[in-house]
């Protein structure tokens, strides 16, 4: 007859839960007692049967929803709504900026304007020589051969402009400047100029002097009004004015960047 203590010892022996001393004692008894060995065999078979029992996998996931866990549903709140509102507004502004940018470029708002250094038409100083010079003037006395209407005065003005910029006296300029046809014709009519201090001789008429002075003043005024040439630029060729800045482009970039930033912030807060 197998006692409950023996069954318990055999059961523990099967699981390796006996102390060395207890295990040795039981092994000695197993060699001597067949009933004990039979008990050991049947219990071992039962243990094997239970180990072979089919394992059941979970038929579904037992993960918890926030409701199951008692977690209240979070309302978006002001902090979540603000980035989303900002994203919406900046996106609309970006689209408006795009339309404005295309419209601005379509109207040619950014085209540079070509200007010339010198304006010829309508300038009273730039009088065609065939009008200024009196009739009957001989060609030999008019200096180098030039086409009628050529702005013979132009080089003189250049010299005078440079001198004006450097602060020289316009009267001295006249004395240094090469004679023009007009001044030559005037000199022929008036004759040689005598030294006022020495007296004698006819003095230049006021009318003649006024005409020359008007020419000089007009040339000086034109020189002052003309824009200074850029450094290294050729005076004879037109230059381009700096391109106008397109405000719509700047607005487009700024609103686009703001839309991207607010969109990224909205996504980040949503994932939280």
């Amino acid at each position: 007859m197998i006692s409950r203590n023996d069954t318990e010892a055999i059961s523990a022996f099967l699981d390796g839960q006996l102390s060395p001393r207890e295990q040795a004692q039981l092994e000695a008894r197993l060699r001597r007692e067949p009933a004990l060995r039979a008990e050991l065999e049947t219990l071992d078979r039962t243990r094997s049967l239970l180990k072979a029992a089919p394992h059941h996998r979970a038929p579904r996931n037992f993960t918890l929803t926030p409701e199951m866990a008692g977690i209240p549903e979070r309302s978006p709140g002001f902090l979540f709504g603000l980035p989303r509102l900002a994203f919406t507004l900046t996106t609309i502004m970006f689209l408006v900026a795009l339309v404005g940018n295309f419209t601005f470029q379509g109207l040619g708002g950014s085209q540079p304007e070509e200007t010339t250094a010198f304006s010829v038409e309508g300038d009273p100083a730039m009088v065609p020589l065939e009008e200024a010079a009196p009739a009957g003037e001989s060609a030999a006395d008019s200096g180098p051969m030039e086409d009628p209407g050529t702005e013979r005065i132009q080089p003189t003005e250049e010299v005078e402009m440079e001198s004006v910029e450097s602060g020289e006296n316009p009267d001295e300029i006249q004395a240094l400047a090469p004679p023009t046809e007009e001044s030559l014709s005037i000199a022929e009519e008036t004759g040689p100029v005598e030294d006022p201090a020495g007296g004698g001789g006819p003095e230049p008429t006021l009318e003649t002097d006024a005409t020359v002075e008007e020419t000089l003043e007009t040339a000086a005024a034109d020189a002052a009004e003309t824009e200074p040439l850029p450094a290294g630029a050729d005076e004879d060729f037109p230059t381009e004015a700096p391109e106008r800045i397109n405000p719509w482009s700047i607005f487009t970039v700024l609103t686009g960047a703001a839309a991207l930033l607010s969109g990224a912030l909205t996504l980040a807060m949503r994932r939280r």
């Binding site: 318990e8 699981d15 049967l49 089919p54 037992f62 918890l64």
Partner: protein, 201 residues
């Protein structure tokens, strides 16, 4: 991939996602224990789900050690609570029935698609026999033999899950095995050939 201590730490701070990761790791284990203790699939599902909810809400009481043992203890106690309630108010099992009006041990939807029909039949017969015999044990004896012999726990771990001393585990296990042996021997030739008890002459 976060390790278990990190997941537990996050879950204790209220991170439900971290806790659900732990659920996915242990849910098969928990379900198998619950099914063997409860004896039926529907009741086992309820016990596991309720047990997981209780575990999440009581994470602050986890003092370290084996999270698996702590979780299974909660599931096992949930099973005991339901068993005690049923004893007060007996209920009819809702398991699918075979043509002979017997509770189907292994419903088809739980079948392992990789095993042959013969293997399925063997497993079904053996499983039915084992469960029938387990159902004949007391709740405490049944739990111990399920933890040690079916789930493969050692005595210390089983004592931790069951919440009983080591000596109690040893004696209850011996008595459970002896009772199952006598029950399974009664099935005799109904058991698969490889699992029959050999009798002398």
């Amino acid at each position: 991939m976060m390790d278990e201590p990190t997941l537990i730490s996050q879950a204790r701070k209220g991170d439900l996602t971290a806790f659900n990761r732990l659920v996915l790791v242990y849910q098969d284990y928990a379900y198998n224990v619950a099914y063997r203790v409860m004896g039926e699939h529907a009741a086992a599902e309820d016990a596991v789900q309720d047990g997981m909810i209780k575990a999440y809400k009581n994470l602050s009481k986890f003092r370290g050690g084996s999270f698996k043992s702590w979780l299974l203890r909660i599931v096992t106690n949930t099973c005991y609570d339901e068993l005690r309630r049923r004893k007060r108010r007996p209920t009819t099992p809702l398991e699918p029935l075979t043509d002979d009006d017997e509770v189907m041990e292994n419903p088809r939807w739980l079948a392992d698609p990789s095993e042959t029909p013969e293997e399925f039949a063997v497993r079904s017969e053996l499983g039915r026999a084992i469960q029938d015999c387990l159902n004949g044990l007391s709740d405490e004896f049944r739990t111990v033999v399920v933890l040690v012999d079916i789930q493969g726990m050692d005595y210390a771990e089983a004592a931790d899950v069951a919440g009983t001393p080591l000596g109690t585990i040893k004696s209850r296990l011996a008595r459970a095995r002896s009772g199952l042996r006598d029950c399974l021997q009664g099935f005799g030739e109904l058991l698969p050939l490889s699992f029959r008890y050999e009798t002398d002459g």
